[in-house]
């Protein structure tokens, strides 16, 4: 019988939640790396027992951990992230040039086909790759070296490369997103990049339609329809039908189009999930009601999903990397909150129940569907 393994990164450690295919009863393992911030944990599609974790601390910096037994044991691997060549500068908050400085790894994206290859999105925004299971990391400097790089500015949370999407159907095609620079696409395995932000409209920047400078919070793609991308931007939920060449807004009837995560149903490329958040200055759900919104039409038309979610006095946030789906039938949907709850739905969002209620603030949630 199939099973699922939910990988949770929190402010104070990592947790591994496992269940059989019914997704009713859960075993909780952790905290792993207690006391450390775990920005992201993700498994290799090519070897599901191989997991990578980004472990960091304001005191002691960055560590990358790897497990080869599904999270039971871990070993530190390489944690040297040196930018390729001269560091260069980006814009600081006050508009002055500021040297690129490595701070932490936000996101780890293992290769779909090679368990030894994994990509890392870092702050200050850069893309790194390891081809030896995380022992050594090399920057793919074409992204940070894009001609617009010196104009990139950090968002409030730092200038992070938080989204990496590898298009397995089109070798060499990758997408990344940077706050607050925007979305980027490579068609040559990361050597060269171009901004793909046409159609975005951001009131908070001098030119609302600028080529870069947009605070993209998250991108999502269904692997069976890779030309369609969804985006949760600082404000606005967006959709592209041409691999990012152009975007249109699909916020439709959402109560607010601010938010962080966005994800796509495992079997229905037109079914999309977001978690509306009140505003950029009020990072909690509107009215204290935690609601996932689902569109079955690829955007524009959204329905609130409330059953099992708190509908009063709820003032948590759901961060950009804290939502994931499994590939069971029916599709399971998971998200974690800054209040330490991890909610699961085994019926594509119709009903929800907490797996755990009292973890540290959740930074990331990933799911592995295991045979």
């Amino acid at each position: 019988m199939s099973s699922v393994r939910v990988l949770v990164g929190t402010r104070k450690g990592a947790f591994v939640l496992t269940s059989d295919g019914k997704r009713e009863d859960w075993a909780v393992s952790g905290p792993h790396f207690p006391g450390w911030e775990i920005y992201h944990v993700k498994g290799s599609p090519a070897d599901p027992d191989r997991l990578f974790a980004s472990q960091c601390s304001g005191w002691f910096g960055q560590v990358i951990q790897r497990s080869d037994d599904g999270g039971q044991t871990w070993s530190p691997v390489g944690s040297e992230f040196s930018y390729d060549g001269p560091a260069g500068t980006h814009q600081w908050y006050d508009g002055t040039p500021h040297p690129w400085e490595f701070a932490r790894v936000w996101h780890l994206e293992p290769s779909p086909g090679d368990p030894d290859t994994v990509y890392a999105g870092v702050e200050d925004a850069g893309l790194f790759r390891s081809t030896d299971g995380g022992l050594h990391w090399q920057e793919l400097p074409g992204l940070r070296g894009h001609k617009t790089g010196p104009s990139w500015q950090p968002g409030a949370g730092g200038m992070c490369l938080h989204t990496i999407i590898l298009d397995a159907s089109s070798p060499g095609r990758m997408f990344t997103a940077v706050s607050a620079a925007g979305a980027f696409r490579s068609d040559d395995a990361g050597d060269t990049w171009r901004p793909v932000n046409q159609g975005l409209h951001s009131e908070g920047i001098p030119d609302p339609h600028a080529e870069v400078g947009h605070c993209v919070h998250r991108l999502a793609m269904h692997p069976a329809r890779p030309s369609v991308l969804y985006m949760q931007k600082h404000w606005d939920v967006m959709r592209s039908d041409d691999s990012g060449d152009s975007w249109r807004e699909v916020s439709g009837n959402l109560p607010t189009d601010f938010g962080f995560p966005i994800d796509v149903h495992a079997h229905e490329p037109d079914t999309v999930y977001v978690v509306p958040i009140t505003s950029d200055s009020q990072h909690f759900p509107p009215g204290g009601k935690l609601r996932v919104y689902r569109s079955r039409t690829g955007g524009d038309d959204w329905e609130p999903l409330t059953q099992g979610l708190p509908q009063q006095h709820c003032y948590v946030n759901v961060l950009r990397d804290a939502m994931a789906v499994d590939s069971l039938d029916s599709c399971g949907v998971y998200f974690g909150t800054t209040g330490g709850q991890v909610y699961a739905s085994a019926d594509a969002g119709d009903t929800w129940a907490p797996i755990v209620r009292d973890l540290p603030a959740v930074l990331s949630v990933e799911v592995q569907t295991l045979p």
Binding site: G35, W36, S57, G58, W59, F60, G61, Q62, V63, P76, S79, E80, S82
Partner: protein, 98 residues
């Protein structure tokens, strides 16, 4: 023999139980002790000092003999009590938040 005490998080990371003892060739300075520590435990590289410029990470402190050595020059000799092994060299996570 130089004795080094690490903060709990770094002991866990490096799988160290108790104090570390190090043989340090040449002058015993903060730099030579940390070089020897990192040579013995490569996983600690970057966790105490910046990998590129060798500077102490902002929220790590160095103590010995009831003195804060964090702002001393890295090539200054360490106190004789540390050199002799009578006193440990303490690497401390700064008190800050949590």
């Amino acid at each position: 023999m130089i004795r080094v005490v690490l903060p709990a998080h770094l002991r866990t990371l490096a799988q160290i139980h108790g104090e570390v003892t190090l043989d340090v060739a040449g002058p015993v300075t903060q730099r030579s002790v940390l070089d020897a520590l990192e040579a013995s435990y490569p996983v600690l590289r970057g966790t105490i000092r910046d990998r590129d410029n060798g500077r102490r990470r902002a929220m790590v402190r160095f103590f010995a003999c009831q003195e804060d050595l964090s702002h001393e020059a890295p090539d200054d000799p360490l106190p004789q009590e540390v050199t002799s092994g009578a006193e440990p060299y303490l690497i401390v996570g700064a008190m800050a938040g949590g």
